[in-house]
């Protein structure tokens, strides 16, 4: 089973972030592979352990995003592709999906694994667009994955519990943080990653042009959420519970 994992390089979420013109400042020193994408890498490694095949890691981003690919390779992935091109600066979700789909199509794949949503952009739509562009089914929010030769069953996390969803392969799935416990790279893994094959490709290499990279949406303004007010206080004179219930009804909470 050949599995593609989509990984995104993001500024370390442990540090405070900065916005410039409504866009996340990416020039910060400490960048990491999106922690949400470690689950995808782990899931892929486990499937390949079980069924054989290779894990191919694909990322789109500035040249520094190569580190995210390296991280996945040190965890055990076999090879990587970085799509980087100045024309992609400011790409939105659709442009990203076009690029990723084109990169995925360059080799045979049985499964594409992505995170549910990125930790920085968090639109949560790239994987769905990728599935559509590839013309394959998608299963989302997987908290458990079970694969057979030509199909895949996932437990899809829902608010109430989970749904069992089965789909044929090839497919795109997104995985939640509960799906597994990602391994840490070992020193051996870090050393081996140095000699694993990675490709750096541009838009042209993928047969795409500048128009494919143009954003279809732009962020005009980013404003912090308003500070919370003081709230309302009820003295309990015996009718407190009823008053609270009334308020909740008024707010349509109950």
């Amino acid at each position: 089973m050949n599995v593609v994992v989509l990984v995104k390089q993001i500024p370390d979420p442990a540090n405070p972030y900065e916005l410039v013109d409504g866009r996340l400042k990416r020039g910060v020193a400490q960048k990491v592979m999106d922690p949400g994408d470690e689950y995808g890498v782990e899931a892929a490694l486990r499937l390949v352990d079980q069924f054989g095949g290779e894990v191919n890691v694909i990322s789109m981003g500035p040249a520094a995003a190569m580190e995210a690919i390296r991280r996945a390779l040190s965890m055990g992935a076999h090879k990587g592709v970085l799509v980087t091109d100045d024309a992609l600066g400011g790409a939105d979700a659709l442009a990203t999906a076009r690029v990723l789909a084109a990169a995925i199509k360059r080799s045979e794949f049985d499964l594409v694994i992505a995170g549910v949503e990125s930790t920085d952009g968090s639109t949560g739509v790239v994987p769905q667009m990728v599935a559509e562009l590839l013309g394959v089914p998608q299963s989302t929010f997987a908290k458990e994955i079970e694969a057979k030769d030509s199909s895949l069953t996932i437990k899809r996390q829902t608010a109430a519990g989970y749904d069992m969803v089965e789909c044929p392969l090839p497919a795109v799935i997104t995985v939640t943080a509960g799906v597994n416990e990602p391994r840490y790279p070992t020193f051996k893994g870090i050393m081996q990653a140095k000699s694993k094959p990675v490709d750096t490709v541009s838009l042209g290499d993928l047969g795409l042009g500048g128009d494919d990279a143009k954003p279809t949406q732009s962020v005009d303004a980013v404003n912090p959420a308003p500070e919370r007010g003081a709230g309302e206080k009820f003295e309990d004179d015996g009718t407190g519970a009823a008053k609270v219930a009334d308020l909740l009804k008024q707010l349509k909470v109950i």
Partner: protein, 382 residues
């Protein structure tokens, strides 16, 4: 002169730091309180390949080097000394003697499971009557019908009483060499009849690290369990201790760095007299001193490791690194508690544990006095 680590070492440092902060830090206070050895965490450390770092891949190791091991020990100690000493003793005292002095068969049998992180082993040198004067060993071993018969006892031995413990390598008197005792190293598997692993000591610090007394009463092990040549046991353990000192130095640097990181955060956040206490020069200067000493100790430790990796003689440098790093670590911990005020005395704050954990650094693997003796001996040639 090149003071940089390789990119792979830097990445590995980040990985171990991440592991220490996510897996160990949340459990450190509880481990300190219950004094229980956290087998699950140590097995995860094994999964990360930490116990095999300096050993070649054919023995289950990672094929890295001593410097990389020191990086791992430093990063663990920045968060928790008990896990750092479990690693340091596991590799430096448990596995290293087999790697350096073992036959091929012994390496396959005893080193591989240690390097893979499946088991732990200890080194039994210290005795109730032989500490700094380790040559004063009284434990005796004699050959009888193709087996060693061992009688005696050992004190303060690390990593032999855990659920993962496989064996201890001991020093024992195996004869006389003129007026001096002939000392040899013998491997004694846990569970051998007559070998009693005693109760855990109640300690000031290093609570989750396993330290016990060992008793040997007519213990029989096969003759092939002799490690290294007969009569070379004293010389061999001195070699082991050189590397061990650099590694303890790395542990001390990690502890001092942990004290510094905790204290910087606290000095920025804690307000008195209307401002963060870090704005008071008396506090800020303490931070400057801790940082300077930590950096100097780090230089000494990694120079020692660098020399070890190049096969250069490093006896004096190892003692200097251990002496300086352990003493500045104790000072760093004391001042970190001071910066935290009353909260520093409360166990909920890591610096309280760091203070208790720091003291033994001036004692284990050669006291500060012994390090000064060794350094002076190198200088004077006596």
């Amino acid at each position: 002169m090149d003071f940089s680590f390789t990119p792979e070492q830097n990445e590995f440092r980040r990985t171990v730091r991440d592991f220490a902060e996510k897996v160990i830090a949340p459990r450190a206070e509880e481990m300190d309180e219950t004094e229980e050895f956290p087998e699950d965490i140590v097995r995860q450390m094994g999964g990360l390949g930490l116990f095999g770092l300096p050993f070649p891949e054919e023995y289950g190791g990672a094929g890295a080097d001593f410097t990389t091991l020191c990086i791992a020990i430093e990063e663990l100690a920045r968060v928790d000394s008990s896990m750092a000493i479990t690693l340091e003793a596991g590799v430096g005292l448990g596995a290293m003697p087999i790697f350096l002095f073992g036959s091929e068969d012994q390496k396959q049998k005893w080193l591989v499971p240690l390097a893979r992180g499946e088991h732990l082993a200890g080194f039994g040198l210290t005795e109730p009557g032989a500490g700094s004067d380790a040559g004063g060993t009284q434990t005796k071993a004699r050959v009888e019908n193709g087996a060693w018969i061992i009688d005696g006892s050992k004190s303060f031995i690390t990593n032999v009483g855990t659920p993962m413990s496989l064996f201890v390598t001991i020093t024992a008197v195996t004869g006389k060499n003129g007026n001096t005792q002939e000392i040899s190293n013998i491997i004694v598997p846990v569970g051998t009849p007559g070998f009693t692993v005693g109760k855990k000591y109640k300690k000031m610090g290093w609570h989750a690290s396993d330290t016990r007394e060992l008793a040997f009463d007519g213990v029989r092990v096969p003759e092939e369990n002799l490690l290294g040549a007969k009569g070379e046991g004293f010389k061999n353990f001195l070699t082991i201790l050189d590397g061990g000192r650099v590694a303890i130095g790395a542990l001390a640097v990690g502890l001092a760095q942990g004290c510094l990181d905790q204290s910087i955060a606290y000095a920025k956040e804690r307000k008195q007299f209307g401002r963060p206490i870090g704005e008071f020069q008396a506090v800020a200067f303490k931070l400057a001193d801790i940082a300077t000493n930590t950096e100097l100790a780090r230089l000494a430790v990694y120079r020692g490791a660098w020399m070890a990796d190049r096969g250069m003689p490093f006896k004096k440098e190892a003692s200097m690194a251990k002496l300086f790093a352990s003493e500045i670590a104790v000072t760093a911990a004391r001042e970190a508690v001071q910066i935290h005020g009353g909260y520093g005395f409360i166990n909920e704050f890591p610096v309280s544990r760091f203070y208790r954990d720091s003291k033994v650094l001036e004692i284990g693997e050669g006291t500060s006095e012994v390090q000064r003796m060794l350094i002076a001996r190198e200088l004077l040639g006596f």
